[in-house]
């Protein structure tokens, strides 16, 4: 099992090949492949242990002269991301029932995207990490471009170019790092950064450009998450993508950015981010509050939840940037920082699960409404589809942060961590909780309550198959809300290990 990570990454590619070959029955292949991948990643998760160290490490010299090494490994963070990526892919594939045009290609691309995600979350050398990072972008572009909504063309182009700009900035920064240090290994670079050697090397080889390089890296991740104001591609892309693909975009791809910040930006450019901490924190707060507020005036359910996603990931960014703040008392600071990071990592998973489930429900609603997801089009659906309403309500309340469901725990930990570091930031950010609640209750009110419109008087409720399909996701929300230690038991040692290695 020494090559389990390589095998896991290769598995969806294999599935993609088969899916393209069989064509019509590709969905079966995709379901089978993604479930096997999910089981494997859950297996990896349970074998990671509580050491906080990298495990399942694979190293092989590739191009020694260039410092390129095939280097894989996961810790609690990586393993959690694997599980999330696999889970979200399963949801996306299950939700893609109505794909009739070119199913072979569609599911092939989805599996290729999954492979890109797996590679991104396991690679520890920039070289192949960047390959996977880009590899995930290309299928996403085609999926939006070919199967998207009416305005898919501009949305896909914007998505691609925007993300590409971020990637180019990232690439340039890493080429500069390579020139300065002769290596591109994340672990080695982080070690250099912690000892101060990196700063010296950059000075010696390139001059005083550390901040510029940090900005390049940050831009790459800020676009992906997104951090306001680098988010303008997102609402169009989420709205125009086929809803099942939006599941992947919000559930898994947006997490690549947060992951990158944790694995790459903070360890390697922590000092530079420390210099920019106030600006970054201000942008994170903007993301939290303006993201939630912008959702209020949207007229389309997908756009509402697109902005809501910006808001939810804003809490992750808030936590990540708040830990840069200085605070008196070292043990208290470490405790707050670990609460914030535990919360942020948990939030990555919780938001991935919840947002994917909400968009899954939107998928099912789209199938029932003949494609429309306009907020004004509905009303009183609860009378006609009570089970749909009840089960979607669970997902919506999880998104709202109701205690007892998963979303609350991560938000609580983030606030526990952020408050002592900056009570001002925490006090502004709680506004986001209130606005999100207003947004979600408005959706419930406008879609499900009031008098039933004649237009929907024959809308079918969830079938038994659909109920069985969504049940595990909802049960998981409840389980993680009541017993978060299931995840935190592994996340927390990883976080402690990470913090231990960072120097700001």
């Amino acid at each position: 099992m020494t090559h389990i990570l390589s095998m896991l990454t290769a598995l969806p590619i294999l599935g993609a090949v088969v899916a393209v070959l069989v064509g019509a029955r590709a969905r079966m292949i995709a379901v089978a492949t993604s479930i096997v991948a999910l089981l494997a990643s859950v297996g990896i998760w349970f074998s990671v242990g509580t050491s906080g160290q990298m495990v399942f490490v694979e190293r092989a010299l590739w191009v020694p002269d260039l410092g390129i090494e095939y280097h894989l490994g996961v810790d609690g963070l990586g393993a959690l991301m694997l599980v999330l990526a696999a889970l979200v892919t399963v949801i996306s594939i299950l939700a893609s029932r109505s794909v009739t045009r070119q199913p072979g290609l569609y599911f092939g691309l989805v599996l290729l995207l999954e492979s890109g995600l797996f590679g991104t979350f396991t690679a520890l050398n920039f070289f192949h990490w960047f390959l996977y990072w880009e590899l995930s972008l290309i299928p996403a572009f085609f999926l939006i471009r070919l199967w998207g909504g009416a305005r898919r063309g501009p949305a896909a182009t914007q998505f691609f170019v925007y993300t590409m700009v971020g990637s180019v900035a990232l690439l340039l920064s890493f080429l500069a790092l390579f020139v300065a240090t002769g290596g591109m290994d994340f672990i080695a670079l982080a070690h250099f950064a912690a000892t101060g050697e990196l700063h010296r090397l950059i000075d010696a080889h390139l001059g005083h450009v550390q901040l510029l390089l940090a900005c390049g890296v940050l831009l790459g991740f800020a676009v992906k998450v997104p951090l306001m104001p680098f988010h303008t591609w997102l609402p169009d892309a989420y709205a125009e993508a086929p809803t099942a693909i939006t599941i992947l975009l919000t559930g898994a791809m947006s997490k690549m950015g947060v992951y990158g910040l944790l694995r790459i930006a903070l360890p390697i450019f922590g000092r530079e981010m420390f210099v920019m901490r106030n600006e970054l924190l201000a942008l994170a707060l903007l993301t939290v509050v303006a993201g939630a507020w912008a959702a209020v005036v949207q007229k389309d359910l997908k756009r509402i939840f697109a902005y809501s996603s910006i808001n939810h990931l804003g809490y992750c960014l808030l936590a990540l940037f708040a830990i840069l703040l200085p605070m008196a008392g070292d043990p208290a600071r470490t405790l707050s920082a670990s609460a914030a990071l535990d919360g942020a990592i948990l939030q990555i998973f919780n938001h991935g699960l919840t947002a994917a489930t909400i968009f899954w429900f939107l998928c099912m609603m789209e199938e029932r409404s003949g494609g429309t997801l306009a907020l004004d089009a509905f009303g009183g659906l609860r009378k006609r589809v009570p089970v749909f309403c009840g089960l979607m309500g669970i997902a919506l309340f999880s998104s709202l942060g109701l205690p007892g469901l998963n979303g609350f725990v991560s938000e609580f930990l983030i606030f526990r961590g952020v408050f002592p570091l900056s009570w001002q930031a925490a006090s502004v950010a709680v506004l986001g909780l209130l606005i999100t609640a207003a947004v979600i209750l408005t959706v419930l009110q406008r879609v499900f309550t009031g008098p039933l419109r004649d237009r929907w008087s024959a809308m079918p409720d969830l079938t038994l198959t659909e109920r069985i399909a969504v049940a595990p996701a909802l049960v998981l929300m409840l389980l993680l809300g009541l017993a978060p230690q299931i995840l935190l038991g592994v996340i927390n040692p990883t976080v402690l290990h990470l913090i231990d290695g960072w120097r700001f």
């Binding site: 393209v20 349970f46 509580t50 191009v63 072979g104 290609l105 691309l109 070289f127 390959l131 085609f142 691609f160 590409m164 180019v168 390579f178 306001m228 104001p229 303008t232 509050v289 507020w293 912008a294 209020v296 005036v297 949207q298 208290a332 470490t334 405790l335 707050s336 920082a337 670990s338 609460a339 535990d342 009378k383 205690p403 930990l413 606030f415 526990r416 408050f419 002592p420 925490a426 709680v430 506004l431 909780l433 209130l434 606005i435 609640a437 207003a438 209750l441 408005t442 499900f448 309550t449 009031g450 017993a483 978060p484 230690q485 299931i486 935190l488 038991g489 592994v490 927390n492 402690l496």
Partner: protein, 701 residues
Amino acid sequence: MTVLPMLSAASSDAATLAWIVRNLWLIPVIPMVAAGLIALLPQPRRRTAATLAIGSLAISFLLAVTAFAHVLQHWSSGAPTREIVSIDWLSFGSSTLQMGWVLDPLAVIMLVMVTFVGSLIFIYSTGYMSHDENFTRFFCFLALFAGGMLGVIIANSLLLLFMCWEIVGLTSYLLIGFWYHKPSAAAAAKKAFLTTRVGDIFFLLGIVWLFAQTGTLLFYNHGAGAMEPAALAVLLSQHAAWGLTAAGAIALLIFAGAAGKSGQLPLHVWLPDAMEGPTPVSALIHAATMVAAGVYLVARIYPLMSAGAGPGTTTAALTVVAWIGAATALFGALVAVAQFDIKRILAYSTVSQLGYMMVGLATGGVAVGIFHLITHAFFKALLFLGAGSVIHGCHEEQDIRKMGGLRAQMPITFAAYTVGMLALSGFPIFFSGFWSKDAIVGAAHHWPVSQGPFWMLLAGALLTAFYMMRQVGYVFLGVWRGHGHAHESPAVMTVPLVILAFFAIALGLLGTPAWPWFTAFLESRTLAFDLAGFSEPGLVPMMLLASTLVFIALGVGWRLYVAADRRSDTDPDALQSASPTIFHWLESRLYFDELYQATVLRAYALCAWFSAWLDRRFWGGMVAAVACGFRVLGRCNKSVDSEWIDGGFDKGCEELTTAGGVLAWMQTARAPGYLRTLTVGLLILIAVVLIAASIAGQVKL
């Protein structure tokens, strides 16, 4: 590897605790499990649903009585009356967040009250909701509510309390909006959830602050809890803004949550609208239990609220609580005078009475506030269930102008309602409300800070007796002004009324100055019957004053609403004729809703609009400008860097153009073709990066 939750009892002495203490968690969990089971039932299984809900709460009641007996026995034998059990919930950094439950006199009194009143209201609901198509759903929500409320009560952790608190808020939302096809009900539900959430936002900040400062969220933990002297000393030594200590600031933040839940000014606006829910819900949630959770919360964190107070002085936090409570008490009573909806009168009365409880806590201590909470729970549940019986009997009519003379058709309801009305009015000696309210008014009189709240409470007491007389006059006395025939409700509804009426009288015996059982129990002091309790200076004159006010108010009410014979439902109200302007202001609830509409909600809409504008125009425009700028830069500047960037752009655009062409081809091509394209594309990508990397490497080497 410990990835599984550490759900083991952490306290080493857990084994030595009594069975009921170790298993106290069953009291909230049993109704919650019942709610889960009911949720899985198909709609037509009405009997099963009702049986599960009532049965589960009855079991919880029996367990609560067992716990009560246990605490009583500890009290009489002089053993410690507070016992806790803690479990580890999650760990972060090097610390562990513990949760757990507490059994003490305060908790056990509330447990018995909620399970008992709750059971009666559940039984009543089987009659009241018998024709509703969503009968099973109703009992599912009720059972979930009961579980959450009982969880709030036994929580020994501020976080666990908050979690149950929010679940209670959820069920309140679901039950207010139970008749969801009515837009007004749906709107009221949303309003309730959001208004209370405004308070909860502050509450949450208070929690994280307390947690960060003390390292624990347990109330009591053998000296290491947040409500125990060591932690309080830490909080008192730290200064927050505006001359407050950290203790005072945290207490005020948490009180904001309590104010939201308990309908205190200025967050009271949701409670009257919550009457859109079915009447048993109004009785259980919006009168007897949930709205009192805020009062209970203040009582639970009383050591924090009063931290730093010496003899004859009070704290900033308690001063705020007293003033807000007094203002709310007076405001609610004033507005109740001018309402015509039978449930809205009671709703404003509840707002007012919750204000009394807050003042009682702030000026007299835990026992004074909680005694009124308990007596109020019984007589207000009685009044709401009575109102439900009236509404039921009058074919869903809620306007008191269209009722009248119901004492003949509904004798049992009338008798029970009169008991509730006299208890709420504070009719002397024979009714529980007299003793509990008098204790609060007396405590406010001895408050060292100001006599303001005392006078406000006296005015409120006068108004309370008056509006209740007005309501009874309209509804039960005089002549029938409605349509059709009113009828008495079935026994399943009237029997709970009679039981509640009994307690509305009898509970007063527990809190007389001669035999203050309630205070002694809550404070774990010894108790003896002693008539000398009445000889405390100022006590008897105070009682006489309060009684005189009640008699005056009842008399005036009788004069205006009973003696003046009303014949038609269009006759103007007696006060309306006397002073139309003031009456109109009161009838319009002093325009709080309109004020919020014009300020808070408008600002909210404006911010939302601005955020969307920022998004589309400002940031979007900026991005366009940057893209344009790069293009210009690329043309003018031939430096290596800009070539790279420009190249990146061009490359991207090229790919897009190619993609377009490929797409056109793809639409018509066969499946294996795509695979080839993908594979080739992937290989090209790998080759490009390899070459780029090796070029970079050569440059370096």
